[in-house]
Structures are given as structure tokens and as C-alpha cells.
Symmetry: C2
Subunit: 458 residues, 2 copies
Amino acid sequence: MMERFEIVEKALVKMLDEKKYAALRDILMVMNPSDIAELFGQVPEKSIPLLFRLLPKEQAADTFVEMDTDAQELLIRSFSDNELKEIVDELYVDDAADLVEEMPANVVKRILKQATPEMRRSINQILRYPENSAGSWMTTEYVSLRPNMTVEEAILRIRRQGVDKETIYTCYVTRHRVLIGIVTVKELLLAENDETLIEDIMSTNLISVNTHTDQEEVARMFSHYNFLALPVVDGENRMVGIVTFDDAMDVMEEEATEDMELMGGITPSEKSYLKSGAFDLFKNRIPWLMLLMVSATFTGLIITAFEGALAAQVALTAFIPMLMGTGGNSGSQSSVTVIRALSLDELKFSDVGRVLWKELRTALLCGIALAAVCFAKIWLVDRLLFGNTDITLTVDLVVCLALCVTVVAAKVVGCLLPIGAKAIKLDPAVMASPFISTIVDALSLLVYFLFAKMILKV
Amino acid sequence: MMERFEIVEKALVKMLDEKKYAALRDILMVMNPSDIAELFGQVPEKSIPLLFRLLPKEQAADTFVEMDTDAQELLIRSFSDNELKEIVDELYVDDAADLVEEMPANVVKRILKQATPEMRRSINQILRYPENSAGSWMTTEYVSLRPNMTVEEAILRIRRQGVDKETIYTCYVTRHRVLIGIVTVKELLLAENDETLIEDIMSTNLISVNTHTDQEEVARMFSHYNFLALPVVDGENRMVGIVTFDDAMDVMEEEATEDMELMGGITPSEKSYLKSGAFDLFKNRIPWLMLLMVSATFTGLIITAFEGALAAQVALTAFIPMLMGTGGNSGSQSSVTVIRALSLDELKFSDVGRVLWKELRTALLCGIALAAVCFAKIWLVDRLLFGNTDITLTVDLVVCLALCVTVVAAKVVGCLLPIGAKAIKLDPAVMASPFISTIVDALSLLVYFLFAKMILKV
């Protein structure tokens, strides 16, 4: 699929160069809006308004929604007031609200001027909700039915109103604006009798979200329940809008990206990688690097404090990277697993005991296996193969004991920090690899040198 | 929502203890199958068959599908042949195929015995496709229409056949089994004339996947196009089934989890964290830990080779953890960003030049900023505050030069390895943090000691 698409893309860019507009229009007309929007990312900026004007009206609006913010701004600036009005009229309210949120003030002014008063009101309502809440990404356009309608009346109402609604497949039954039931088009179509009342077939097992529910939780509910849409209600249980599965998919992707970025020690950003300049990337990455570099002062201090021991047993220094590395890897394994389980809601704070017990046993298994292999490796490879005679059996023992203890400590720190972060309402992903590494690095050095002092008496 | 659910859960477990079955049944009847399945994870195993038998027939099947494999097996073993037949009859083909794939042989035999011959055939067809392909998670139950039907006939057909179909909202128009168009129920309902022919309103801009398309790509297409369902065709373009958005959401979650696990140096597993025993976790984690521990032999060798230099300038040892740590963090920042962009299809192999150029500039900015701060920190904190007189201005200079070069090298390695992996069809995520760390660790030590040799003449 994707490869085929690249071929089409190249052909279109060529037709644009050769000014074959009629043929271009014919092809664009049968293309999917998402693909057209992607195509716009590949053509020279100045061709975008021209290409866009080749699209039929409704397809133009669908494509517009899928484009990235920069291209949208460029287009709006090139639009006449009339052209802008045509696009704004075709937009769903939630998309219009997104647009208003992202455009600079003077562009926003022009957009709102072209919107109908009703749409302006809806946009403003959506913009009042906190960012990343269900209220801020809901749409206010849904099909509402009354409980005393018949199936036939309901279908008639959908046929009349449906054209402007983002989804018609789930309909919401309200009384005095309060949500009392849900009925799907499938249920309406499959109802045996056209005279059946909606209240007799509607489902009253209502699962809804609040306008202030966080988008991450909303996305989780979609993947848990497999719904097409979820109703959004206000504090008084009055229905104010719906959120749809396609937005939930975007949120799921966004949240997973954000978690990965945090795990990698990057400040999350909404810009895609290729759109971010070197300076953007620098800004997102330098804070953690700086913090972790400075916090490595501790490991430096520990080494300085044990300089005597290292001088007395020169072989010890060679194993520092292995110890710290294995400790760091062990810790990040636990933290990644726990962070993901927390994000997917598989773990709660009350599971902390079970997690700790599980990690302790896993850590002991890993620690013992690693120490055993390490012991053999040091003796066979470092001592016998490479002939490093500084390595004695006691040095080997110290390294492997320290390794085992470090792995256990790292896994415990790695699982407890994210759960602790969650408990004090911080994002568990912030506690991942880089931050845990620093703690584990210091711990592993301390353990190592203490064993060296005790056993080697250095 | 989630908190409220926990309260319900506790109440239900209590009612079960007190044997209040009638009340329990009333509550279960209005609960969502996903929630009931979750509840089953919280009650003692021996109560599951009892609770399950309280459910009405159709809800029972929906709940069964949402349960985890262990509980499903337990239930099937407790079912009579009649009970099993009732459940199997209610299952959609794709769910039945999943079940057959996951159950032990003797259970599978019982399931297939209760299935209708037609379902057995469909199950076998689905099971022939490679794991993780569109064919293996499609369902063969969809609404197909003929191009010469009228809108009225089409709606009638949906009303007759729809009850057994997983989704009725997207209908597929076929001629000689070849897919020629798509029409949605929304389009059918909103058509102005009941006599309009399907071929006149169907969309012929067909986006389909092949039975062998990988599930990751299928999921990406869902999030790109926002479809409810995608048609699956065979090598001759004949329609064989559909995949639906809810399965795509599960795949997206699975793939993100898998990427995170690989980034954290864990062999991905489909078992959830709390279901995995300590030995499972050990098996998933030990291979990478072992490999990385053994590969740390290189860093050990490098240090041993430069033992003379370290003995001559004792202050150098103290900065090894900081250098390796900052290098590792810089590298994993780049690799995480690039791996995620590759997974989301934002990057192609042909972008390698742009990526390298972007990372080089970012790396230089980061390297210079870190080196400058590090230089000041070492002088002010380590030398002046802690009075470590082994640190001279030249030592400080060596450390900071090595830091800057290490950061640049780490970022280049971090961005190139995942792209290289993709080019040779390996999973880019395998190239992430732990693997990159090992390379960067060795590089940073080499750079450090070479600078020390050149500048400090040790």
C-alpha cells in the first residue's frame, strides 16, 4: 500500500510541474483526503493553494482538516473571505475548535468572522475546557432522540439531520438534556417492528465521560469497551457532546509517543520529527542531559572517595562500566514494564506489594544467573585468555557479589519509582531510564566499593 | 469512572460471598461485557463458572470473548457440550479463530465439534494465514451488496443479514467476488431516492489490505484514514474478509508496548505484567542482560589497556561514569525519537540524510552546551568546592572535549542504527537504548583516553 502511494505521489508532483491541471483534478477526486493532505507535504509551498483549489468543496474541507498546522495557516492566508467561509461551513465543530486553538490571533479573527453564530458559540464552549480534557476534543454535533419516538420516527430524524453529524451510528436518547439511553443504528435497522418505542430498545447501561476527564483515560475507555463514540456529560449529567474513536486512536498514539520520549529523557513535543528544527530538538533534549550530567557529580565523588582502593587494586576499575551498565539495564527493564502497565491501567497503587515481590524474585533469578556467568567469564576470558594477572579469585568474587546485589537494588528502584510517581500524581514515565540510571549508578558504585573494602581489605 | 468501577467490583464480590444470586444477576445484566470480564479476574477461580451461568445468553458470549485465556479455558472445561455449543454459536468467526489458536489441543477438539460446519471452514481458513497478518485477525462476516441493487433493496438486505455481522455500517459491493465499491449505511440512509442504484452512490476509491499485510501496517492505515473497517482481499483482489477498528486499537497498543519493551531490553511477551510469573519475567529479561554484560568485556579491555594513563592521572577515573552516562543518554534520546518516527511511518529510509544532518546539528548544540557547563562545574565544584587538587585545567579540558565528541558520536550512532536496522528489515526498536549504550560506552572511553594521551601525554 504505502509503496504504491509513493509512486502516485511522484506522478502527481510531475503533473503539477507540467501544469496538467485537469488530469490532476481527476486523480485528486478519487483520492482519500488523508492521502491528499500527505501529498501537500511533498509539494513546494507555493503550489499548495493552487492544488487545493482543484478539489471539490466537500473533499476540500476533509483534506483541510488532515493537513498540518503550517499548511493550514498558509492556505487560510491565501483564501478570500468567501473561500474561507465555504471551508469553515463544512468543518465539524471539534475540528474548527482545534483550528482556532492553533492559529495565530489575526487568523483566528478571520475564521470566527466567517463562522455562523451557532458555530462560534460551540467553538467557544469547547475552548473553555482544559486542554487534553474530553471537553476540549468533543464535538457538539450528534444525533439526539427522544424516548417516546418510534423506530420509524427515529430513522426519519437521522435521515433529516444526519448529514451534519460526525457520526450517526450511535444515537443518544435524552430527556430534559439529561442522557437516559443509547441506541445504535444497527438496533434501529434490525428492530422487528417500526412502531417499537425507542425507550423499549435503548440500552440504559450508560458509559459516559465527564467534560473534564483526561484524554488519556478517555482513550483507555475506547480500547477497553470498543465503542464507536462515547457521550460527554457535564457536572449535572447533561449531555454536551461526543468523542469519537478516530480521535481516541490519535490520543493513544500521542500518549504512547509521549511515554517513549519521557522514557528516553526527552521533553515531549507535539511537532513531528521531520518538522522539528535542530534547535527545537536541542531544547527538548538538553534539560535532562544537563541535569543528569550534573547529578553524575555523585558518582564522581564516590570514585574519588575510594581512589585509594582503586589504586591498591588496579583491576577493579576495569569492571566499573560493566557493573553500572548491567545495573542500569536491569533497572530500566523493570521501570519500562511497570510504566507501561501503569499507563494501560493494568496496575494500581494498591498492587505495589505484589509488584515488589514479583520484581524481587525476578531480580534474584537474574542476579544469580548473571553473577554465575560473570564469574566464569572473568576467570576464563579476562584472566586466562587475556592473561590479566591482577585479577585474583577474590577480585572476581567481589565483582560478582556486587553485580548480584546491584541487579536486585536496580530492579527494586526501577519498579518502585514509577509507582511512587503515580502515587504523588506525577507522570510515571518521567521516572524512567535516565533518572533511574543515575540512582542505580551511584548505588552500584557504593555496593562495589563496600564489598571491595570488606573482602579485599583495600 | 475507573474509581466508580472498583466500588461496584467490591460490592459484587461481597454479594457473591453472601450468595445473593438474584440481585447479582440483575446488576450483571446492565453491566458492560468488558467490565464483567474484568470482574472475573477479581473473583476466586471456582466462582467463575457460577457467575458466568448467571449471564443472559448473548451477554455471556460477549463477556466470554473479553476474558483472558486462562479463564476461558477454565470455563470451557466446566461447560457441558450444550453450553459450549450455545457460546460457540454466538461467537464471531474471528473471535472463534482466536480461541482455537490459543486453547490446548483437547479443548480445541471439543470446540470444533460444537461449531457448525460453515464456521469450522471459516476458522480453518483464518488459521491458515501467517500470525500477525491481516488474514489472521479478519472476520469473514461482513455485509456484501451487488452493484445493481437499489438503496431500498440494500437496506432490506442489511436488515435481514445484519444480525450476524460484526459491523453493518460499511458494506462492500462485489462482482464475481471481486471488491468494486464501498457504501456506508450513512450514505444509504441519507440517499435522497430509494430507487438509486448502489453503483451510482458507492465509492470506488478503494483502500484495502491484503491477507498477508502485517498487522502493524494495518493498524497504521486505520489511524491514518479513520476508517471503521478495512476490506481484506486475496492475491486475485477477491474480497475475503474485513478487519475492524477495535482490533486495530488493540494492535496499536500491543505494538507500542512491544516497542517500549524492546527499547528497555526486554523480549516482548503477550502476557500482562501481573499475569506473568517471576520466571516468565526472568526469561524475557535475562537474554539482553547477559549479552550486554558479556559485551561490556570491551569496555573492560579498553580500561585495562589505558591502566597506565589512569594510574598517572588518578583524577581521570572519577569522570568515567559521567562521560559514559551522558553519552548513553544522548544516544538513547536520538534512537527513541527515530524509532518512534519509523514506527509511525513519519520517516523512510530515504530520509537518512536529513536525519543525520538534523542530529549532527542538534548534537553539536547539545555537546557544546554540556561541555561548557561541565567545564565550569568541574572547576567550581570538584576543584574549588571539594578541593580536589588532582584536577588541573588541562584535565578539565580533556574531560570536556571528550564529552562534546562523545555526545556527537552517540547521537549519530543513535539515529543511524535504527534506520540501518529498518533497511535490513530488522525491528528498529531492537537497536534501542541498551544495544546503543554498549557501543557508545566503548566509544566514549576510547575518545576519552585518546584525548588524555594526546593532551596530558600520559
